[in-house]
Amino acid sequence: MQVGIGLPSGNPGTSNQLIFDWARRADVGPFTSLGVIDRLVYDSYEPLSTLAAVAAVTQRVKLATTIVIGPLHNNALLAKMSATLDALSEGRLVLGLAVGARKQDYEVAGIDYRTRGRRLTEQLSALRSLWEDGAIGPKTVSPRGPDLLIGGLSDQGYARMARYADGYVHGGGPPRAFARGADKARAAWRDAGRPGKPQIWAQGYFALGDEATLEAGYQYMRNYYAFTGPFAERIAAGLLTSPQSIAQFMRGYEEAGCDELVLFPSVPDIAQLERLADVLAGVGRRTR
């Protein structure tokens, strides 16, 4: 399993400078990827343009969207933007797509929420063809375009993943929940007769530091997930707040067959990245 780190681009108040510092520092290692999340109606950065900026200050790490809310985008434009990002980053883009969980984002974007599943299905089938046909540039590093991951927990989500994508992004939770999701993804993949295995990505949130830092982390989690109602509290309780809990979390995910785990900061402070790097070094994870 490889371990990546999320950019603080989904944390309110993050400065442009912090994004650049964070990306440059992550590029040194031990992280293998930089992740971004997507949310329209929130004080957060847009994921694809953020990664474009980050591409300029990094050389090594994969740039992963976990995830972009696909149905909010026009298919051809999304194909063009991701091809551009792929070209700018020399093939480091991993494009994760899902329908997202918030109706409000659709309302503000003027997209019918009820059509989200169908739109994503069409989008997946369109993206590959648009990249491969080459009518829309720029040329991607791999002729088939960037790796495509799908998120989501519905039966349809897994079938869609196996049909069109290269892998699956799990949304978060304890290792046991991840294992169930990963099993579903592998079962769908095998059933579809796809060769090899799906790439399996996952994510978690962390906060490392004194009590005030942890409290800020919990605050962010409750705030970010307030749209889930009473579940925000339970999601917040899953925040990883000690080297021990991070180590066990990584072990659990690795044993359940995770290929890449992206840990997102709940506090937008470069010290968080340093502390996570120390934890990784402490459990013997180095740059690969």
């Binding site: 089938s125 079938a159 060769p195």
Partner: protein
Amino acid sequence: MKIAILGGGPAGLYSGLLIKKANPAHDITILERNAADVTYGWGVVFSDRTLASFQRADYKSYEQITNQFVIWDTIDVYYRGETISCRGHVIAGISRKSLLHILQKRCQELGISLRFSCEINDLAQLEAFDLLIAADGVNSIVRKTYAEQFGPTIEPGKAKYIWLGANKVLDAFTFIFRENEHGLFQVHAYPFSGTSSTFLVECDEASWLRAGLDKVDEAGSLAYCQKLLEDNLDGARLLSNNSKWINFPTLKTKTWHYRNRVLLGDAVHTAHFSIGSGTKLAMEDAIALSGALEQYSDLDSALNAYELERKPVVEVFQRAAAESQAYFETIKRYLGLDPMPFAFQLLTRSGRITYDDLRFRDVRFGEAVDRWHAEKADVLPAGELSPDTRQSVIFAPPPMFAPLTLRSLTLLNRIALSYRVEAFSPPSEEHPDRVLKDEASEIYKRARSDVGLILVGPIAVSEQGRMTPHDAGMYKEHQADAWKGIVRSVHNGSPAMIAVELNHAGRRGSTRPRAEGLDRPLREHNWPLLSASALPYTPLSQVPKEMNRADMEQVCNDFVRSASWAHRANVDILQLNMAHGYLLASFLSPLTNQRCDAYGGDLQSRLRFPLEVFDAVRAAWPENKPLSVALNTADCVNGGFTIDDAVIVARTLRAHGCDIIAVQVGQTTIESEPAYGRGFLTPFSERIRNEAGIPTIVGGYLTTSNEINTILAAGRADLCIVDSPDI
């Protein structure tokens, strides 16, 4: 706080005593509509895990409860006059009356005011209280008053049941299955005091009506059950306590609290009695509620925390209960099983207990299961003995290592590996119709992993029937020769037998390799497609031609020719693909077959062409060799082919000489949504095997020996395809 608790059952009393104990300053009143000594029902059961939580919550009542316990660890399954026993399931029972008595006394000790014979019809009477805890049962007046806020749904079960007692001493949790002229009756019986037991009698509505139980009173029902269970009661009397036949109501509630009113126990959720968790869940609710009230100073946070803690736990139990309930409601389909697999199936019905668990709990039972498989599993579900009925053995390997005989072929064991040829063929200019060299070594490697069967496919029956340009085929002489070589190396180098699946891709043909995604048409050199109807598979797919009679003859001849070449290549088992939306399957599904001729319409007509192909192949394939069909057992789309249809098709195929069904689902259209996950095909396999009486092969992402042994021992399939992550 001034707290009113409505309902003096276990949930109400236990929550009262725990809240009062944590904070004696609370002023608590429990209101019960019955008198103190009137209670309904007989015994209740708890598992050891529940007892540990009682011990932490209130040691004093825990000690008194456990003093009164009857504890046992055996489950007996009485079926077809035989009793199968399995030990190691620690269960404790207590009479409901004793439990209530202990809790009442404890409440009084702590200074809780208990008011009996106090019926509340208007909640306005309780407005002076700061908190209203509604533990007033499944007919909760509080929940009904605020139905809009709580959002309850009640679904009545399909079966009828009655809760009786008996002055009989039992030494095990006892399942009794009895058939008489009216139908099948099952009994869940367990001890709860030194002298008496609970007897829950259940049957389906039709049997209940045939027995005339809708027309008799309490005494009449009692007399009927007494006679029914005469042999099991050994002279003991059944007892009634205002007992009535009802359909078990499953209650689910969206929200568990509203303002200062909170629901507890049966007032907020019920779970079918067959998993014996009603009182357990109610008392655990009480523990969680008192804990939350202690932890949070404001009521809203406390009630929120209570709901958040309990709701997911209860939902897990309700799912297990629903499965168990469905199992008992449809138990008739397992009546073809011998007592051993019948009992094993019963014990593992929830999916939470496996072969390894049972073996760990009771080695003797585990060994009896293994022995049964070694001696008898090679008997077809239809009941015929295979040619060589095995000698009795002392110790036997696990069920997965029992051999399987189909016609004159015996497989070494019940483990199969499937190998998809295209998956390992990169596109190549030099090999326009490759099967071969690379695949040969891959197949050989798999065959050498000590499996009983290696299943290779899909193999195209014609050039037009390929999915991708790189598919393996069996439509040219040199291909047949190549297969002969592969089969020879498998036979010479391993004990495995080899099955080959023949397929015509139909409207899923002419696509790119699956590494690039599913059903993506070729960029160039597409070939014309055939299907039952002229409907494209995806919006981007080519529109296939609706097959005419000549096309059908051609396709049928292609299958027959491939079958005879497969025989010449010494293939052991031939499998025809009628699954996943390929050509033959496109006839079966009403979603993809919209023909108006004799080959479309009702199920028999839709089955006509696939059956013609089957018959022609059966005639060409040697009598002594098994013929298998990969059958879609459900489309997993609204309006599609269902498992009920598949049972009929499987029965027909069996009558036409099919030896085994390889169970598949979905992929009929791109809207198909199977509920993927570990063992997702098993429920379909179980129904085909037990209702159509034909052996089955099942896959569906099985990766452990425990999953495979559990499936085989419960009679859910005969052969399992393993998806080892390392292969």
